[in-house]
């Protein structure tokens, strides 16, 4: 995590720095070096493509967790208008690890609910690294019910390592809060589109994920357990790169894996070099695809919508008979 470059991105960052340096010095000396820069920029694009085409599952985890990646509120700013954040669960407190509120997508009102991580230490402490307490899920539930009341679709953004494991979270019923959301989302009478924008970490992610359509950004991940947790439990080693790599591959957590397993509906392509390389491009992709899905879902009567959503999840799983 952190703002520093990922290990496998170092050649990209190095080349970026070189180009930047040339630009600066040429500007200072008022020399036009467009011709000299062209091949380097071409090489940079190629390098980005190459590196990002061949990411291993564990590298995708790093990309998904990268703090330079667009977060929920970044997408809110870039894709939506007229956003009014709504706070609090009306019972205990406002949990900053989940944000939500009214907004407009192409002029139409939608309810946005998403995990929110922080970019620096201070913000991460405020947001608890995007790991919600029960009151966060209860705020989400309140907003979903509010949307339902006014026949407004719900758009969720998944971006969390998982629900918070701590004393207060347990005391206030973390399990119940998550379970209640799964239940309520199974009967909500308005369209729900969920998008995994970063890390989809277990039950804490799924609590915003019972949707009519589930989209996943190309380099995001979605898993039943963190790769570290899995490696620690199964092989008593959650730290070494080898075991993390092994767990990341075994768990099948990448977007193509989930598409193949029949869990998600669509993979959203990321710009060259990942969503963090070009927030605006990633946001444009998100707005386009979510908009298309909503257009389809809006055609369905609530009863049919809910029946299909239930059937979708009832079909998930693989077994022999």
């Amino acid at each position: 995590m952190g703002t520093s470059a990922l290990e496998f991105e170092k050649p990209i960052v190095e080349l970026e720095r070189q180009i930047e340096e040339m630009r600066r010095s040429s500007a200072e000396q008022s020399i036009n070096i467009t011709a000299e820069l062209a091949p380097l920029e071409h090489r940079l694009a190629e390098l980005r493509r190459e590196v990002y085409r061949n990411l291993t599952p564990v590298q995708k985890v790093q990309v998904a967790r990268n703090s330079r990646r667009p977060f929920t509120l970044d997408y809110v700013k870039l894709c939506f208008t007229d956003f009014i954040e709504l706070h609090g669960d009306r019972a205990f407190r406002d949990d900053a690890a989940i944000v939500g509120g009214w907004a407009r997508l192409e002029g139409e009102t939608v309810m946005i609910i998403g995990h929110q991580r922080g970019r620096d230490t201070k913000e991460n402490i405020h947001r608890n690294f995007g790991m919600p307490h029960p009151e966060g899920y209860r705020k989400a539930l309140r907003l979903m019910k509010l949307a339902e009341k006014f026949h407004v679709p719900v758009l969720t953004f998944i971006d969390t390592p998982g629900a918070w494991a701590g004393l207060g979270a347990e005391e206030r019923g973390q399990s119940e809060a998550i379970a209640r959301n799964l239940f309520a989302m199974s009967e909500l009478q308005v369209p729900i589109v969920a998008t995994v924008i970063g890390e989809g970490g277990s039950g804490g992610a799924l609590a915003l994920g019972v949707a009519d359509r589930i989209l996943m950004f190309e380099h995001s991940v979605y898993s039943v357990i963190t790769v570290e947790g899995c490696a620690a439990i199964l092989w008593k080693d959650g730290k070494s790169p080898e075991m993390r790599e092994k767990a990341a591959s075994a768990l099948r957590i990448t977007a193509p894996d989930l598409l193949e397993l029949g869990i998600i509906d669509e993979i959203l392509p990321e710009p060259e070099g990942g969503a963090h390389a070009d927030h605006a491009a990633a946001a444009a992709t998100l707005a386009k695809h979510v908009g298309e899905q909503l257009d389809e879902l809006r055609k369905l009567k609530p009863e049919k919508l809910v029946r299909r959503r239930r059937e979708k999840f009832m079909k998930m799983g693989q077994f022999e008979e």
Binding site: G166, S175, A179, R309
Partner: protein, 287 residues
Amino acid sequence: MAWFRKEKKVREPRRERLEIPPDVWEKCEACGHTDIREKLVRNWHVCPSCEFHRRMRAHEYAALLLDEGSIEETEVDLKSTDPLQFPDYPARLKKALGTAGDSDAILTATGTMERMPVNLGVMDFAFMGGSMGSVVGEKIARLAQRSLEKKFPLIIVSASGGARMQEGVLSLMQMAKTSAVLSQLHDRAIPYVSILTNPTTGGVSASFAMLGDAILAEPGAVIGFAGPRVIRQTLGQDLPEGFQTAEFLLERGMVDHVSHRHQLKQTVGRLLRHMSLKPVASGWDTA
């Protein structure tokens, strides 16, 4: 077993000690009381000395809760596969099938409880820690479907460490699947009673286990989202005494009752008789 001889000397009368071979004795994990296994089984694995509720197998819960001779196991043909080709999963499955039986981590049955027809699911911790994979989710979904068709109440006894890691995100989705089927029961006012036993954590506690119209818990059962080990890690210190026990959850408003195992059947029976759909009031007002 050194502990055994020492205990026996203190607690058991000489005559019994001579007649019974040592391997039929069992010792209570909580108080150290030693007793004949047969006697503990007949007592539904509750320690006669300290009332500690020891772990009990799924078929024993079925016998405890359903009327004698009424039990009919359902969904017996569902078997786990290895959809992700996860390292060692087939071997682990094979071992579990050998030691814990072939119902996977949940036994589902139909039968009567105090002569009321019900559908009962009982998780079995002996099968891979009661972990929920595709088979557990599917068995619960089908059992609930039976309840929908026949309008029989649904009862599920949970004992689980959570989702089955070896089936990855497919396991995670069983949380959504079981919740989705319960929302259908809810629509039709078919009662669902959830019984939490030791332990009920992770994906099971964060889905169907916490969604009962009534939630009962056995005394002392550890119930929570994150297991005590994980919380201890994030905290970097020990947990308060009694944290995440059934009694703690009762106090915090998360369960309706802490029920002694010997009273479970009676309590569920009483609840089910209350929770049957009554006619809608016709109203007094004729205007």
